[in-house]
Symmetry: C2
Subunit: 275 residues, 2 copies
């Protein structure tokens, strides 16, 4: 397990509780590794990624996008011939391409669990964070890549009790631009708007806090995701600018009937996505 | 108590638990009134607003904006000379003006508790929903209006254990355009964007659900609020369109440094508003 934060720490912990005997962990933050060890989320702590993957059957990169891409190249040469490599990033085309370029497309399948949190570090790890979550599994283009994806999907389903969905990396990234990256970007834009134009010292209710909650996330992680999923994210943002413009005009024109239709469509969509 | 929904029902219930002996309720939905009576949130149920306010010391209008404005005019003539009238709407200029126009500016002060929820009806009432909340108290322009505001603030503080903040109706509405109405409008716009352009049947994670949660709110209530707080809401929406445009350009230009600065400013603001 490379990375022992909210996702990696939870994944290791849950795998241990599900009976995986040996989980070797690495974290760039030594204190996170020690916390994971103390919690018995891992059984051994390695001081480099290369040492952590020695003899591993399954290697999970639970790092942000840029280090994940770097690690794929660095670990390709030390990965055992039967070992399987996977990751948990929320952008998948760049990651799958990198594995193929590094010559390990047959031993790689990407995963993206819908279990994100704006918190970070092992302190945000939970032994049930991934239980029941949807996890996208994105395979390479070869038959071997397909078999690798079978094995990764099976690990998520059987060991972690999650619900795998097989999807191409391209479709995944297009879909996530709307379902995840757009809400994230809008939360950042709304928070920045409030930061620049709101009055200091005023009270924000639960509505403003919920709507901007995602803006508390790690900027470094999101710089990489947003840049790697351009132009799909750009397209989604353009459409949302138009939607805000339409709403603004309905209000400015005092168009109560048009405004009611607009808000009702939004409400109907929102009620439909509640689990 | 005129209106026994999430706010009115909670307010009545909490007042009863705090020792208010008699609370007469009215709801346009008879079933809500019966639920409130069964829960002992009210002691009597009236079948018209006019009957409910007979002999009352304090009348609370816990209705959406448009019915609140209508009720102020309708109840002005039946309100006892020593009775105090207040409301809970999240727009205050229109309400305070209406009370003054109805000749009861000396017996009226508006209140706006920051305790909203996208749920509605007495089913969403809680005997502790208002405890500890910030509540804005907006008074009329006369000395008598000032005394009315003293009494309403004291009711919120002593009986409901809330934290009153005295503010002019104009400042309240300008401030709420940013802190509440803008997040609400953005949640609607994002939900409508996803409704029109997202793919059907895809999975939305907790991020998308949180960011659009407010869009599940009652459209009728928000049509009135957004129209009554134009042009302040329009100004806030214009600024937010610009913020989204700026974000989109940083992504399109691959400007990692500029994007990091933007996201970090948003993050810093968001972390600052957590209680």
């Amino acid at each position: 397990m490379i990375g022992l934060g909210a996702i990696g720490g939870s994944l290791a912990w849950q795998a241990r509780l599900a009976g995986v005997e040996r989980v070797t962990g690495f974290s760039p933050e030594p204190s996170e590794g020690i916390q994971a060890l103390k919690a018995s989320a891992i059984t051994e702590l390695a001081d480099t990624p290369a040492k952590a993957v020695q003899g591993a059957e399954l290697v999970v990169l639970a790092a942000p996008l840029r280090p994940t891409i770097d690690l794929i190249t660095r670990l390709a040469s030390v990965l055992g011939p039967a070992a399987l490599l996977t990751d948990v990033c929320s952008v998948k085309v760049s990651v799958v391409k990198q594995a193929e370029a590094a010559g390990i497309g047959d031993r790689f399948a990407g995963a993206h669990p819908l279990a994100g949190t704006h918190e970070s570090g092992f302190a945000a790890a939970r032994p049930d964070r991934l239980r029941g979550c949807v996890v996208y599994i994105c395979e390479g283009s070869t038959p071997a890549g397909h078999r690798a994806a079978d094995r990764v999907a099976s690990f998520w389903e059987r060991t972690l009790d999650a619900s795998p969905i097989r999807i191409s990396a391209e479709n995944h990234d297009r879909q996530l631009a709307w379902t995840s990256h757009l809400p994230q970007a809008v939360a950042y834009a709304l928070a920045r708007s409030l930061a620049e134009h709101g009055q200091p010292g005023v009270s924000y209710g639960s509505g403003a806090r919920d709507t901007t909650r995602l803006a508390a996330s790690n900027p470094d992680m999101w710089v990489d995701i947003l840049l790697h999923n351009e132009p799909a994210v750009g397209e989604a943002l353009t459409r949302t600018e138009s939607q805000i413009g339409e709403l603004r005009r309905l209000i400015a024109n005092g168009d109560a009937a048009g405004l009611r239709t607009y808000l009702t469509e939004a409400q109907s969509f929102r009620r439909g996505i509640d689990r």
